[in-house]
Amino acid sequence: MDVSVVFPSKNRERYVRKAICTAFKARHVREVIIVDGGSTDNTVEVALKENAKVIIQSNLVYPGKGVAMRDGAYLSSGDIIVFADIDIANLTPQFIEKLYMPIMMGEAEFVKGCFGRAAGRVTELVAKPLLRMFYPELARFKQPLSGEIAGLKKVFYQVEFENGWGVDIGLLIDLYKMGVRIVEVDLGFKEHEMKPLHALTDMAYQVAEAILKRAVRDRKIDEAWAKRYISAISEIDLGGAGYA
């Protein structure tokens, strides 16, 4: 089975070369795809020079992580698709291989990566409580929002990608509901840039929205209640002026 590695990216010129070269060194990797969110630096030029396939995400609404992931999946030709953050300072070929090996071995169809550190604030304060409420069977995942994932291409083609930050949790819930075999693998330590506090408010909102939308769809919650809850979450400022 061939593997395609997809890196969503925006203004990551200083990471892109290393990420592409590292991904190509992993066994079975036949292509690396950079989905660019409209970089103003030389991310795209460097990626093309390193023989990556490049596409600029279909809409420029920021954050468009989900759109970028969808476009990456659609452009890939491998049987397995790996998604990873481009700014992982300690990225190695083994890191990528760990993600897809359970699929190669027939043990899983979708793999979620987790790391040897405490999960982030949005995970602990938003995602996990909501999962415990509506999808308790998924509460076992240490890092349900992890962006390091791998899956069979055919599996990704059966689900709808959320546009923004809700994409990772949306995929996890939808693939679980479809009966896809999911495992979580420990990828060790991940050294990367932390998101600034102000970026977490939007992220928290979109993650909550993705979970509640599915809870309504799966008849676990009344739609009007979900709307009220989403509206309340939008008022919370996890990274407002008081924290700066």
Partner: protein, 221 residues
Amino acid sequence: MRSVVIGGGHLAYFVVTTLREIDPKGRIIVIEFTFEKVEMLKKTFPYAEAVLSSIDKVEEYITENRSLIDVLVSATDSDALNLRYAKHSIKNEIPIVVAILNNPLNEPIFVKENIRYVINPYKTIISKVKEIVDKFRVNIIYEFSRINAGIYAFKIENAEILRKVRGLILKNDLPFFIVSSADNRIRAGSVGDIQIGDVVCISCLDKDIRSFLERIREGGS
């Protein structure tokens, strides 16, 4: 004419209605990926065939029907898919392959993949804003995709530009018309009628206009 349109969103709506207008008796097949949209397409375009397909089966469909397809337009809401399907169609020698962009920044990527007909629906925003705000200073009014030519507008701001534009027209015997600064009306005429303050709209090959613009920028003659 047998046309295949991939995608059932608003881009596809304009494509399908235009294809119908061009050839009312032609066969139009619209390929979509969701059941709900296919049902809606059947109602919106009763004259077209709406086909439900999975994303990975479209290439198979193109290959199987390659000898029957005259025009293929890839108009999904993903540029990644549009690129994939357009490339596959060109490989299968479909006579006319058109890709419609969602993000204009992808145009060079499509062009690099030898996709000749790439529609950037946002292009008109640039020329319209220039026309309205910048009063035609230098503007692309229209580009003919098939012949790499266009209609270009020049604001005659000074005697030097007037001299150069007159030279361009006379040297290449180009058709043109004048938008008069005096009354904002369009008129035909000879190069001698062009005045400072007018806008001159010239129709010519893209390569000629580009070298002319470079000469103007460099201050050459």
